[in-house]
């Protein structure tokens, strides 16, 4: 796969380094083309189900770039949900892994053909296995944060979920366990708010003015940001993460994002033109500020589209898991 390109043109009045802007853009395009290819695989019968995060790239890519990447409590833990391919690519994952998971091949690096697309697991970078229940990660995350607090260092726990998932009790558990005055935890609690719960609009799901307002009751520093702007997302995430790293206290960050292809393949996985497209907006701005030309961005997108198609063809030809493999990994072997 291509490495992100660097641009040597004159600097633009965007508050991030040109190199970083280009890197974010590159990963956003890479993520979008990956998700589009996953959807296409589903529609062509090369996968049973698609769920993912087109529309969350502007938030998820900066998140992955800012994580302290490594294994063990000295590094950041990510308890992710199923819309975060952008974060995984920003951590350095090759997209073919996600394509293999879509095709449920034996080579699927995240679940060996056992789980849906977007259900990543990456222990080497502290990414906990993504599961289909929309909220359980909020109950689990305080555990890694407790270990990190005890160990010292500046590793933090990051947990993400959607706004609809905050209706589940596990979100309240996360707020309670993270903010006890006797043991506040170094945890960044993230809610990506796309204003939907599957087919039900947000106003039929929950009634707080801001999800982040729920943090106030627990004296948790809280903020709602525009998650469709990667520059805002990068800066706000950086600030929130620095607070959690330094203060060893929780922070609740709500990011307003879009859901560009619906909830999942169950709702058709077609492009929703009424929602803000973070990539379109960012590209318009990059072009306007002279960071990248339209031609450069089109070339990049075409190149990634071709690379994803080629990777999908590779994945499609790989064997399914051996039926006998169902018995593997029910239990871990003693080490």
């Amino acid at each position: 796969m291509s490495r992100p390109r660097l641009i040597k043109e004159s600097s633009a009045p965007l508050p991030l380094d040109r190199e970083l802007l280009v890197r974010i853009h590159d990963l956003m395009v890479k993520t979008r083309t990956l998700e589009e290819r996953l959807i296409q695989m589903y529609k062509q019968g090369h996968g049973y189900f698609w769920i993912g995060g087109p529309g969350e790239e502007a938030f998820n890519v900066p998140l992955g770039l800012l994580m302290k990447k490594g294994q063990g409590p000295e590094y950041d833990y990510l308890h992710a949900h199923y819309r975060q391919s952008g974060t995984l690519l920003a951590l350095g994952e090759e997209p073919i892994g996600a394509l293999r998971q879509m095709k449920n091949t034996a080579t699927d690096p995240y679940s060996g053909g056992r789980n849906f697309a977007g259900h990543f697991s990456l222990r080497k970078y502290n990414v906990a296995p993504v599961s289909s229940p929309i909220e359980v990660q909020y109950a689990i995350a305080p555990g890694t944060a407790m270990v990190q607090k005890r160990v010292g260092g500046d590793g933090i726990t990051i947990v993400t979920g959607g706004d609809a998932g905050t209706a589940e009790g596990d979100f309240a558990s996360c707020l309670v366990w993270s903010s006890r005055p006797a043991n506040p935890l170094p945890i960044l609690i993230i809610v990506t708010n796309n204003k939907w719960g599957i087919s039900t609009a947000g106003d039929g799901q929950h009634g707080e003015t801001r999800v982040s307002d729920r943090g106030k009751a627990f004296n948790i520093q809280s903020k709602t940001i525009d998650g469709n702007d990667p520059v805002v997302a990068y800066q706000e995430l950086k600030e929130a993460m620095e607070y959690v790293r330094k203060e060893r206290k929780p922070f609740l960050l709500e990011a307003m994002v879009s859901r560009l292809y619906g909830h999942s393949s169950a709702s058709g996985a077609n492009y929703v033109s009424e929602e803000v497209d973070c990539l379109k907006n960012f590209e318009a701005r990059l072009e306007q500020e002279g960071v990248l030309t339209r031609q450069q961005m089109d070339d990049l997108r075409n190149r990634y589209t071709e690379e994803m198609a080629a990777a999908a063809r590779t994945a499609r030809d790989e064997p399914l898991p051996d039926p006998e493999s169902i018995w593997k990994h029910i239990f871990a072997e003693d080490k």
Partner: protein, 351 residues
């Protein structure tokens, strides 16, 4: 001899000193109470959690992911039910990540009747727990087995559910735990927290020794030739007593304490049933889709031609709860007379 609560406490002390246990926690698990059944008094890694069972199981999973070794407690198994999908998740984490992650964690919870605990302090959990793959499930009936099984659980790389038969927590054992003093009163003085103010109290732990009961191995409690009874937990000593009573009547009953429900010691059951041709399974969880039904199914499928009588299951009645009144509890779950009668009837059954 130590009772089971003391045995659990000593195993946990051994585990935090020698096996890397980092967090022993749950509702009222830390000071000052040390657990509603005193199982966690005086331990150094205990702490009190919010009254939030989902938070407790979730935290245990997270601590295990972070490299800790947690022993979480659900105060009564009746309150574990709102954590079922987290238990399922803990059980499938290794499998669904294709071996990427594993969760070395223990969950302890008291189960069963026997203390007149009414509807929400008498439930069993073995039937439900054995429906959740990816966990190892154990249930001791003696203090020594509790000690040895808990030490094995704390060495595991996988989630272990440690079910504590609450009716037996205060019952003294007949076998000495390696390192425990000979005198019960001496042990109590060393490790039982005093009544009243305990803020200055520090336990004096005996020099405990490693003793592990392997998970998956049953115990032949009594040898016999005419009928087999397989049980675990509260009903096990009742089965042993029934066997002694029936011996006076000239009947020879073999008693197996399963100890581990998953994995379980099929070889021990098989060898016994092939010898006796008659088998009774006894537990106190509700009888519909009961773990004993699984054992019966396997007995019928694999040992049919060794059987001299239909295998039987004696379990709790399929009721929404166990009523508080003495008469109600006694009528709801197997009692001594039920077991003795069932064994006698089975021993005499003719086609």
């Amino acid at each position: 001899m130590a009772n089971m609560a003391q045995a659990i406490r000593m195993a946990l002390h051994y585990a935090e000193e020698n096996l890397g246990v980092t967090d022993i926690f749950g509702e009222d698990v830390g000071a000052p109470l040390g657990g509603v059944f005193t199982c966690t008094q005086g331990l150094k890694t205990t702490w009190n959690s919010p009254l939030d069972e989902r938070g407790i199981i979730g935290a245990a999973m997270g601590i295990a992911m972070g490299g800790g070794r947690p022993v979480a407690e659900i105060q009564f198994c009746d309150y574990v039910y709102n954590t079922i999908d987290l238990l399922k998740l803990a059980g499938n984490t290794c499998w669904s990540s294709n071996g990427d992650w594993n969760l070395p964690m223990v969950v302890r919870t008291p189960v069963g009747s026997g203390i007149r605990g009414s509807i929400y302090h008498s439930h069993s959990f073995d039937a439900t727990m054995t429906h959740i793959p990816g966990w190892k499930v154990v249930m001791p009936s003696t203090p020594l087995d509790a000690y040895g099984l808990l030490i094995s659980a704390c060495k595991e790389q996988n989630p272990v559910m440690f079910l504590e038969p609450k009716a037996l927590l205060r019952v003294k054992g007949e076998e000495r735990i390696p390192g425990e003093p000979d005198d019960d009163r001496a042990l109590s003085k060393l490790i039982d927290a005093p009544l009243g103010d305990r803020s200055q109290w520090v336990p004096q732990w005996p020099q405990l020794e490693a003793y592990a009961v392997p998970i998956g191995k049953g115990k032949l409690v009594r040898e016999g030739t005419q009928v087999t009874v397989v049980s675990y937990g509260r009903t096990l000593p009742l089965c042993a007593r029934a066997a002694a009573t029936l011996a006076d009547e000239g009947l020879s009953v073999e008693v197996i304490d399963l100890r581990s429900l998953w994995p379980y010691d099929w070889e021990m059951i098989k060898a016994s049933v092939q010898k006796t041709g008659r088998v009774l399974f006894v537990n106190e969880d509700t009888e519909v889709t009961n773990f004993g039904e699984h054992l019966m199914r396997r007995t019928v499928e694999e040992l049919f031609y060794s059987l001299l009588a239909a295998p039987k299951l004696l379990a709790g009645k399929f009721l929404p709860g166990i009523g508080l009144a003495d008469t109600l509890e006694m009528a709801s779950v197997p009692q001594q007379n039920d077991i003795t009668t069932a064994l006698r009837t089975l021993a005499h059954e003719q086609p």
